[in-house]
Symmetry: C2
Subunit: 410 residues, 2 copies
């Protein structure tokens, strides 16, 4: 151990994570949708653990659990979420909560540490009822009307009914207390294979990418698939296929080093085997942490659409559905994680953006925020086979504790 | 008039077609689904007209109307259908029935003609309840169980209920009487723009093309659209788009002069904006009247699939769903139409395959069959704006009558 100060207890971290996995276990993962019985039990498990870290436990009116400290000095907020996607992995969420809990256990009673780590488990990061409802509520972006309207996307249960079943109906929601925290730190599995393929232990998140989403429509001419000569056709489906291939050919020269783009849905109209499609539509998404890159790609997309419309035979129309500003992670927090990685992970760390969304992007709008990634085996995510090597989990916990200590000290 | 023998009465033909258009009129077209009230009235209209042509009128248990002659000598069967696609054109079907009726009126009472023309209106050529149910019933390919199972594809009404509403429940179906007819002749609008673009009046159908249908599946890897690097992706949707473009590039060198191919439906799995599609599927159709061309194209398709699978990153699997043998039209009937065109259409005729299916392809399996096309304005089909110039309708009738006369004489 290259540092004489108390660090994470790896065995305790693994025991806690496995205790949470046992609640709502599904194969080697978990099925723990927001406000399900296993989710409720997981929140209760956390509330029972918080006093060990010198924290008072409270759950608010949207299901956020907080561990709050009465200790003097700076306070750092740390956490993640405890619900899962349906039939998904055991670490997506719990890893960050257990790291925060462990850090509070190590640092809050260490007399050499001024200040304390407070713990948060944000509700519904996985979006069963909405989008980052817990962390967005905390930063003041969720109205009562939003909650009135929210329903479980799997079974249609209203959020009001779910909150009542949790015993939370009518309970106040806790909002950010300006000045209380020096910042927010969150650990998470990478959900990609960058760390694993580079044989690295720690991802130092530089930003959480924004998501720009487009609907691209192709206007052709519906006609009989038997009687219309090839030369006379205005096949909207073929125009769409050519556009997808053109994106694949032209985006690499214009994109940034980590830009990703995806056509997730394609629809042909009318979609019958004997009819030449008169219309076609694709949902297209670009993610990057650099708005300049996105602007360049969006311009390219519109240029390509204009070219295709001019060259024919189908008109191409690009409609922007969603603009996502990236969230930048605090530079000092990145340095703290890097410094901790040098000591506990042999410097096997990489600065990288997060392609997925996280609660930290909400917190980043009200306080300095940072994120630490641990490797995902095979890059697998949102599936019950999601996993991280025990050694990597322990290394991540050690780095997380040390990074929090450095942030509180700075 | 270059021929002194009685020919079609153009004004009577146009009056009959317009009378049928008035039944179930929709804008300038008709809405006359199989067994709808307007369809029923159209069949009744025909049954009242048949005696003018010296024909006895009968409707059978599947809704086929026949005009039968007691005259001695050879008998030629002629006809088409009276129902329409939903909200579609006024000539698709009625043109062939009225030509047949007009020909019977002209020839059956002409003492110089030996034999007679008999008229048929085949039920449900448009496939509201099945596929060519009327003509397939006549050639013995529809079982009672098929009728039990048939439902209106628009509203789910059972065919049994529809037949009962028509007063046809329990009525016998009329089957082909071997040796009764020297053959079958059908007139139809082209449904394409070949005749119009060549300033031609008559299409002499050489064959009705077969339809070969394939399901092509692409097997990739479903993954997170934010965290999966472009280089690590196995995007089944992109593989499909590339395959569509490759077909567009490579089929023209291997196809026949009139081959057509169509991708009518595309599905991505799971089809969500933030998920890289792990699977993709396309429905692909090839039509030609030459099985050798089809065999060559199918081999090319399978070669392309193998190449794509080998080059990766997605496996491509081609499954044949349907093999459609083309129906060849009788050579003597083609000569008869051509000869009639020389006299009544100034020879402005073209031998051409039919890309669309017609009842004649069913009749061709049990007797010599032929088809005559008239031009479609703008090639429009299965839409209420479908139309043919009055002059072309009259010319077509004159050619049809003369062609029938020649067939009966030969």
């Amino acid at each position: 151990m290259p540092d004489i100060r108390p660090s994470a207890d790896g065995a305790r971290v693994l025991a806690d994570l496995n205790a949470l996995r046992a609640i709502g276990a599904y194969k080697t993962g978990v099925h723990k949708p927001t406000f399900s019985e296993p989710h409720k039990q997981s929140l209760e498990w956390l509330m029972q653990k918080l006093p060990d870290a010198g924290l008072g436990a409270v759950i608010d009116g949207i299901g956020n659990v907080f561990g709050t400290s009465a200790k003097a000095g700076p306070k750092l907020l740390a956490g993640s979420h405890l619900e899962s996607q349906n039939y998904a992995g055991w670490l997506d969420g719990p890893l960050g909560v257990v790291y925060a809990l462990e850090t509070a256990r190590v640092l809050n009673r260490d007399p050499s540490v001024t200040g304390a780590v407070e713990v948060a488990a944000w509700c519904d990061e996985e979006g069963h009822f909405g989008s980052f409802l817990g962390s967005r509520s905390y930063i003041g972006q969720v109205t009562e009307a939003d909650i009135d309207a929210a329903r479980d996307r799997t079974n249609g249960r209203t959020m009001r009914d779910a909150l009542a079943d949790m015993g939370l109906a009518g309970q106040a929601r806790i909002a950010v207390e300006p000045g209380r925290h020096v910042g927010y730190l969150e650990a998470h599995i990478e959900q990609g294979d960058t760390l694993e393929s580079g044989q690295l232990a720690i991802g130092v998140v530089t930003s959480i990418v924004g998501i720009w989403q487009y609907q691209i429509n192709f206007v052709g001419e519906q006609n009989h698939a038997g009687t219309t000569r090839m030369a006379a056709r205005k096949d909207a489906g073929l125009a769409l296929a050519k556009f997808c291939v053109a994106i694949d050919e032209r985006f690499p020269a214009a994109c940034g080093p980590r830009t990703v783009w995806t056509t997730g849905r394609i629809t042909l109209d009318p979609g019958a085997p004997s009819i030449i499609p008169g219309g076609a539509e694709m949902l297209f998404q670009i993610r990057d942490d650099n708005p300049t890159v996105i602007a360049r790609l969006e311009e390219l997309l519109r240029t390509m659409a204009d070219e295709a419309s001019t060259n024919g035979p189908c008109a191409v129309i690009v409609t922007k559905l969603r603009t996502g500003a990236p969230a930048m992670m605090n530079a000092g927090f990145q340095d703290a994680i890097d410094a901790a990685s040098k000591i506990f992970a042999g410097g096997r760390s990489l600065r990288m953006p997060s392609g997925a969304g996280h609660d930290a992007q909400m917190l980043a709008t009200v306080m300095p925020a940072g994120m630490l990634f641990v490797p995902s085996i095979g890059g697998i995510s949102h599936h019950w086979t999601e996993n991280t090597a025990d050694a990597d989990i322990v290394t991540g916990a050690e780095v997380f504790v040390d990074a929090c200590r450095r942030i509180l000290e700075s």
